[in-house]
């Protein structure tokens, strides 16, 4: 599984309305790219274009993998909502992809992944019996079982409380390392902690911002993380004005 990079160039419209740009975006292979921006600038549309689910979007340009091969089948998606099926237990949810494709999920692999995210003891609980953090860990497990080289994250931690969110960020950074991650977020602190490449997206376009030197995930209270958070917040403030 060699992870390809992602590249997007062009502008997008839905119906008659412009969603974004002309703009260009690059997510390097095997890196964690944070796409930071206010709500409504088209960040999610970019993810949907890479995921191949942007039916209503008219892209004048290209959204593809840098290795030239199609992205279909090489992408996993994790959204803000955990999207767990309430009638399946945690293990069943983790193995959902295989079930929908008519494949047999390897139970040992599912068990190993649940162990990685610390949900082994809850494998046979249904989502209704889990906390918000546990549910998002189950969603991460489902993403890991898919084992795709490209992972698209659409604000997956934004509904969690601060401590749970920080723990989820650490866990995701650990478990998704080596894959090409494109992480849409509106949380400057999250981008400063996780991004090996940080892109700020405003109505004016996309601007790369140098991430802190330290390897991700960075401590939330490290001075350079805080300084980066500040810089990014300032950019968002100025961009919105």
């Amino acid at each position: 599984m060699t992870a390809p990079g992602l590249v997007l160039e062009g502008s997008a419209r839905i119906g008659g309305g412009r969603v974004f740009g002309p703009l260009s975006l690059e997510a390097p292979a095997g890196g964690w790219t944070c796409l930071l921006g206010p709500s409504g600038v088209g960040k999610s549309t970019i993810l949907h274009l890479f995921a191949g689910i942007a039916d209503a979007v008219d892209l004048d340009g290209r959204a593809e993998a840098t290795d030239g091969a199609p992205l279909a089948g090489r992408v996993a998606l994790m959204a803000q909502s955990d999207l767990l099926l309430p009638w399946l237990d945690v293990a069943g949810n983790a193995a959902l992809g295989a079930r929908l494709r008519g494949e047999r999920a390897d139970p040992a692999r599912v068990a190993a992944v649940l162990d990685q995210v610390g949900l082994s003891a809850l494998a046979h609980r249904k989502p209704g019996a889990l906390s918000g953090g546990q549910r998002q860990r189950a969603a991460l497990a489902r993403t890991l079982v898919e084992d795709r080289p490209v992972v698209l994250l659409d604000e997956p931690f934004s509904a969690l409380d601060a401590a749970t969110r920080a723990r989820m960020q650490d866990l995701a950074a650990l478990r998704l390392a080596g894959r090409t991650v494109l992480h849409v977020t509106h949380d400057a602190a999250e981008a400063a902690r996780l991004g090996t490449r940080i892109l700020v997206m405003t109505g004016a376009g996309i601007h790369p911002v140098a991430p802190p030197e330290a390897p991700a995930p960075r401590a939330p209270d490290a001075p350079e993380t805080l300084a980066a958070t500040g810089r990014l917040t300032r950019l968002l403030l100025d961009g919105a004005a």
Partner: protein, 245 residues
């Protein structure tokens, strides 16, 4: 507590009924007193039970068949754009025909026995079940739909493992309605032409001026309809709770 909540209104109704009979000196052939209906119910219990069994069979068979047919139709419509374009307008248009008006035709086609009543109950519940389940099937939450597509889920597998279970509440609310409608269908069928059943018994009793027997049959029908409605309601709630626990 639950039984009490049911008993109090029932007792109140009986009291009002008796009050009306006493106050207006109602003759037995217009409105018999509750006590008289009760004693008729007891004396004619074999006759009523025999006919009730027929009606109950018709209702349950109509309910099961109508729900099954509605389930299949809704899934077929949800699965095929062609079916939606072609069959759905026909389905909606068919609702312009009052189902009751079909009863004589059904009797002509299926005879005086159980068949025409089951067909009537089936027809009357088919549309609510189909439309309520179909609407739910077409409203799979967007996020789940996207997830399934990114996962590369097949159309039929996604339908089976995701859209149908997600639409179960819609199917069950159609079924709850069906439990109320099905007895209406069976009774209409019996009124048009039958030789057994509670609806038939009511007509027969009316013709022979046995109004107390008519009321006794009506009471049994009302209790059965309530019990069926309650059973389906509880069953649906239980199913929805259980699958998420």
């Amino acid at each position: 507590m639950n039984a009490l909540r049911l008993l109090v209104p029932a007792a109140l109704m009986l009291l009002i009924w008796q009050g009306v009979v006493t106050a207006f000196a109602m003759p037995n052939f217009i409105l018999p007193a509750p006590a008289r209906v009760a004693s008729t119910l007891w004396e004619s219990r074999a006759l009523i039970a025999e006919n009730a069994l027929v009606t109950i069979t018709e209702v349950l068979a109509g309910l099961v068949l109508g729900a099954a047919l509605g389930w299949i139709s809704a899934v077929g419509l949800a699965a095929s754009a062609w079916a939606r374009r072609t069959l759905r307008p026909i389905l909606v248009f068919s609702q312009a025909v009052p189902v009751f008006a079909l009863a004589p035709i059904l009797t002509l086609w299926f005879g005086y026995g159980l068949g025409s009543k089951i067909a009537m109950a089936l027809l009357i519940i088919y549309f609510p079940v189909t439309s309520s389940f179909f609407d739910a099937l077409m409203r799979t939450p967007e996020g789940w739909d996207r997830l399934a597509r990114v996962m590369g889920g097949g159309k039929w597998r996604t339908l089976w493992h995701l859209r149908i279970p997600a639409a179960l509440p819609g199917f069950l609310s159609g079924l709850r309605l069906a439990a109320v409608y099905a007895p209406i269908g069976a009774i209409i069928g019996e009124w048009v032409g039958a030789s057994k059943g509670l609806g038939y018994l009511m007509l027969l009793a009316n013709g022979r001026a046995k109004i107390d027997l008519m009321f006794a049959a009506l009471a049994v029908l009302a209790v059965f309809t309530l019990a069926l409605h309650r059973a389906v309601d509880l069953g649906a709630d239980w199913l929805l709770r259980r699958r998420e626990r």
